[in-house]
Amino acid sequence: MSFWLVLTVNSITFGGLLFLLSAGFSLIFGLMRIPNLTHGSLFMLGAYVGATFAAGLAGMQMNFWLAAVVATLTVAFAGALAERLLLRRLPGDQLAQVLVTLGLSFMAADFCLLIWGGDPLSVATPDGLQGFARFGTVVFPLYRLAIIVIAVVVAIALWLMLERTRLGAMIRAGVDDPDMARVVGIRVSQLFTIVFALGAGLAGFAGIIGGPILSVYPGLDQDMLPLALVVVILGGTGSLLGSFVGSIIVGFIYNFGQALLPELAYFVLFMPMLLVLLLRPQGLFGRHVP
């Protein structure tokens, strides 16, 4: 009984982490119509930068949360830079943009290997969340529960931003019909930069938040990118609700698959994505076919 309960909580935790990672991926995909293949690298970069600041850099040690903020801003800046300097040069050429993000992901992986080396970095669990919560006979690490709370808070904030603010309305307009949005005077290309920075920042944030449970190692980008891809294809591009539901589904499939069918874990993970692509190409909550 407790085995199943622990597995369930772990699945939701992982789902929350995936939501942080894939919400930005989904928005970028919805608005710019490209799968951003650097997204895993941005996650890893955020984890490395955050871990470095949290462990202390040049005698200056930062609080975990402050380090998370610094990592988020750094990665958001890197994303904005990549969009401004590279993707901007290929307007409308989605294929070339995908290839540029692929090339950038190679470069980012090697860059991280150069700076941080091949050994995995562990990230200390922040103060006050190192304990356990006890529910009857079952014990949960507090930090895992905290991740769920963080994911829910971010989800609500993003939802309010998209539904209640002027910027959110412009992004929604851009996702639904970029040409028409341009006609009514929305500067869609400026939105691209904003959304790219936002998505990159979220990915970096997810990276450092996931640090204490996943640790940081070379190849983390390759592990996370396919998961984000599965989430967004399941949920549908450009839909916040889609990436939320998709994340939870993938969190469950991933954890239960690893525990019950270890040999076929990846097969079980990618099968639903394939089925959705074939039967409902726009995803469960998506508005248009990629």
């Binding site: 692929l102 470069m107 090697d110 390759q222 040999e263 076929l264 990618f270 099968m271 074939l278 190409p281």
Partner: protein, 326 residues
Amino acid sequence: MNGTMNRDMAGRIFAIVVAFGALLTLPYWMHGIYYVNVASQILFYAVFALGLNVLVGYGGLVSLGHAGLFGVSAYATGYMLQLGYGHSLAIVVAIAMGLASMAIYAVLSLRSTGIGFIMITLALGEILWGLAYRWISLTGGDNGINVPTRPSPFGYSMTNATVFYYVTLTVFAIAIALCWIFVRSPFGAALRGTRDQPRRMNALGYHVWAIRFWACLFSGLLTAVSAILFVYYTQFISPQTLALTSSAEVLLMVISGGPGTLLGPIFGAGLVVVVKNVVSAFIERWNFLLGAIFVAIVILMPEGLVPGSVRLWRLAMRQRRKRAAP
């Protein structure tokens, strides 16, 4: 005009003869087994890139899952040999398995084009990678499968690097001849038609889906053949071969050289293999360089290095002629 055409043709034939002559005599002027081995690698990766180019260059269908197909054939070879079957049966089974997987790929992914096609092939590639990585009882997981022996066609053992090189060169020559015939055939023209104007091709009575399907199978055949050469070359196969990075690498070969040309993918294969093998001996960060080349080519020379250089060369020649004329 006619004169320049003939001169162009003559120049091209001369270049091809020289290139093949150089390749045929390579082990005699290229000293060191290491360099002969690098040349073999370039040749079988060129076959792989030619196979992907059929889809990317002529069909307009960008696949990010070809490493998965490559892996199926490589694993099939290794697994058959592990079970104790002979080389010829292993090769036949590997090609059959490669073609069957390609057929499944095609049926699933040809439902869409563009980004959709990329995503489905990527998903399929990741599934195959996941199986290779995790289905340990079949694939050995991260330990991979060892292939202890190489075949000996006509009594020449391929354990010898030079023999291996000549076998690879033969396969390469057949592959490039097949591609040359394919490009000039009505089928090749029809495939290019489905790339540029699928709806018009449909209206003209062509079965667009079937044309793309057969193109996929042709691509799968070349992929399977190159995978068999690869597995005999490294004598080892592990999940890393099926990873997204490998799919990206072969795509880089096609894109960097020039998609939709015969020479481009071969040149691209040479570039990537040389950067990987030779340059990485001097520079530690070859992956960074690979990514940088990728980005630079997509942004600065999107048609690829071979057509791009030809364009620049022609431009320079025309300007020189213009300057000489008045």
